[in-house]
Symmetry: C2
DNA sequence: TTAAAAACATGATAAATATCATATAAAAAG
DNA sequence: CTTTTTATATGATATTTATCATGTTTTTAA
């Protein structure tokens, strides 16, 4: 459904949101290490995000990536849209060319509502919201342990 | 999420359910044509289904595929499980090795309920139910038109 | 009993994804 | 100003997935 590139992108962006600041940028190698992702592939992906202005990057020593306050107001949907082609979600789940409400494939009525729900979650939640939610859940788990 | 093989398998099985009988078997080429799927690839996939006893096949002239009454009591889940490795759904959506309730990835709480719901639909609906539901919806659309 | 029609088996090719490698450019620190 | 660190750009390789091709076997019907 999602390519690995966009999965990695989401993970990296949310990691940056919770851990990097303009003063404490984080390099792509560090991120790859922490999240156990292939470093060169992640680096490439992050450059796409930079190019589209979804994250900030600074070269040189103490350089790295971070998200500005405005960047954090973007949604996960936009991250995906940058890396993948988001229109692929609107294609028929079974890959049939003619698939619509009028001419549905066999799993149309099963799949479409699910897809919409997931996409809406991605669309309606800002990166900041998602990152803080994650941090909260994580903290909760630490307490429970 | 699903491989094309299992998507094609689902489409083909539901097509067979609605259109083939023991007396009127349907060949893989016909199915591929009707559903606009790559014929050799579909043929290969259907052989896997046959091998696991999920559909019936008969060789020779007027041979082809069909589902017995018992076959139709299976679920879509079993079709997927035959073609894909179903355990891949339980892997972390972001591909992280350590991902669980105690140690969730950033989209864990978003993705897991979604996945479970989808899988439950696949598990709880028999092929027959799904096929008749589809036929009904399709007929409805024809009337509306 | 023979020809044709279909499934079955196996492997080859192609396309898409993902990963890795190398060289360049920029910026900060001493 | 030079060295070091990091991003950037580009392209090469590898892996996975999907597709295609060929030959064999089985079965039915004439």
């Amino acid at each position: 459904m999602l390519s690995k590139a966009s999965k990695y992108a989401i993970a990296a962006v949310l990691y940056l949101t919770n851990n990097a600041t303009k003063e404490q940028k984080i390099g792509s190698k560090i991120i790859a290490e922490k999240l156990e992702l292939p470093a060169p592939f992640l680096a490439k992906t992050m450059q796409e995000l930079t190019k589209k202005g979804l994250i900030k990057s600074v070269k040189g020593p103490h350089g790295g990536f971070y998200l500005s306050k405005k960047d954090k107001e973007n949604t996960v949907y936009e991250i995906i849209d940058c890396v993948d082609d988001i229109t692929k979600f609107d294609q028929c789940y079974l890959g049939q060319s003619e698939c619509s409400e009028e001419n549905p494939c066999v799993v149309h009525y099963l799949y479409v509502p699910f897809k919409n729900e997931l996409l809406n979650k991605f669309k309606n939640k800002t990166i900041l919201e998602m990152a803080t939610e994650f941090a909260k859940n994580n903290k909760l788990n630490e307490i429970i342990k």
